[in-house]
Amino acid sequence: MDLLNNLALGFGVAFTWVNLLYAFFGCVLGTLIGVLPGIGPVATIAMLLPSIYALDATPALIMLAGIYYGAQYGGSTTAILINVPGESSSVVTAIDGYQMARQGRAGAALAVAGLGSFFAGCVGTIIIAAFAPPLTELAFKFGPAEYFSLMVLGLIGAVVLASGSLLKAISMIILGLLLAQINTDVISGTARYSFDIPELTDGIGFVTIAMGVFGFGEIIANLGQPAESREVFTSKVKGLWPTMQDFQDAWPAVLRGTALGSILGVLPGGGALLASFASYTMEKKIARNPRVPFGKGAIQGVAGPESANNAGAQTSFIPMLTLGIPPNAVMALMVGAMTIKGIQPGPQVMTSNPQLFWGLIASMWVGNLMLVILNLPLIGIWIKLLTVPYRFLFPAITLFCCIGVYTLNNSTFDVFMTALFAAIGYAFYKLSCESAPLLLGFILGPMMEENLRRALLLSRGDWSTFVLRPLSAGLLAAALLMVIVVTLPSIKSKREVAFSEE
């Protein structure tokens, strides 16, 4: 069995001391930022990118991955205990989880969230291991035209499934692609849009943008909102273990959430956020006559979305690892991290760096196990953290972001660029333009241009190559279909309802 051999190789890598240590470190950090509102995995991973210079590629990526799925666990803790989702993907968990906490059942909610996530994480890991090789195989058949079309599909998919205005989201993608054009043209060597600033001829660093828009932009937005009073149910976390009844209610929701999350994670634009929303909607439809009504502390409303977001977080690694195409902003940073370590993301990673590839996958299972231990028995420690006021946190986040940006190239120019993007990020927030599509476009920009130009070169300038090659045509048709489906009036209104709910 190839699958077993590969997993054995992976676990061999994952169970070395160094990798265990970094997986643990990533999980702790992920839980930490998941618990702390106001800082998400995107800003944290961006902040840590400079530090991975000193590490080998495998432990570095294991750590960054740990931050991402660790944040899913941590985010649910705050959602349940204080009704403030630490991560956007646990927004729906807060609805029923917080109600459970108010009824003194916070322990049961936390346990179900943790165990459901662990189950989903295990399934997600197996799915990655099973599906990555065949997808990689397929990717090797891709020429430049197919790659270009795949990226179009990826980018369109990323916004079709997201909330908000489709038109604005597509514009944000293009803005990202355009910002990526500030560089030196690889083919002709022309410096583009550099305004004679030497630093700009190397292009804007994606860390600068990620940190400015996601790190600082969010701080400013948070500070602009009036401080809310928080009610923390710390004293009431007793009786961690759910009752038999809870288990019976929760397990079908966990199974459904895992299945749904696994599928949605693979789709472009998918991942944890979409999975949890979709699962909550589905649970409300499917779980007829729940013992406790939804919105009043139904355990299904915690179990489903929590399993789904973890499964989605896990399987969103598939397109990134096999095709080199990031389906969300976190994966975009992972692609960037691989590039920093000198690994060209794409289908060849599996054959050229099997240790990294399988080690990373196996480490996710290990990490999930660590997270259950970290989150359930040690819940008290994380709750204490919640009492740290934001006025101490945001200067710290500002500081870490500044140091992170500076040390990336030891350049103060990057720091100034980040300040600029902080202001731009706040403007995007105020205009309700989503920033994630911008980052995806920015990461894919150079690859897209290169593949477009190569495809046109091969076809001698004939644009029809994109629709005459069957694979490419199929991908473009899928992208078009997505746009059409979403703009259909009946679906459009449903989509708006789905995202505005609660």
Binding site: L167, R391, T407, L452
Partner: protein, 153 residues
Amino acid sequence: MKIKSQRDFWSGLMFVLIGAGFAIGATNYSMGTSARPGAGYFPLMLSVIMAILGAIVLFKSLTIESADGDPIGSIAWKPLLIIVAAIVIFGLTLERLGMIITVPLLIVISSLAGDEFKWRGVIINAIVLTVGSWAVFVWGLKLTIPLWPRFLQ
């Protein structure tokens, strides 16, 4: 002409202007032919598409009624300016004054952006973070960050 959606109006305008800017910039670079696209080919294509999409957003914001005019709301000038200033000052001073001065400076300035500013808490925070970031970044991760002011060296 009345603006029906403030947010869409300004974002549409932003896309149109940035698109136009990039398009004008692209004309400085060689277009090439479609068989051999030049440096300006892809950016021009993108900026034109973006300007068109922006124009549609703009048009819709003037014609399609939204529930409450979709206002932008008040701009949080204080945190915006203070945080941006704090970052810029960090960039200006780090290489001259070193971490030992720059980090506390950043903490004090950025703390001003919050609702509550108490010297005692801010100073404790500054001390903890200065020592902490030295331990993590300089001692732990061995990153090269200027530690002491240049005039002391």
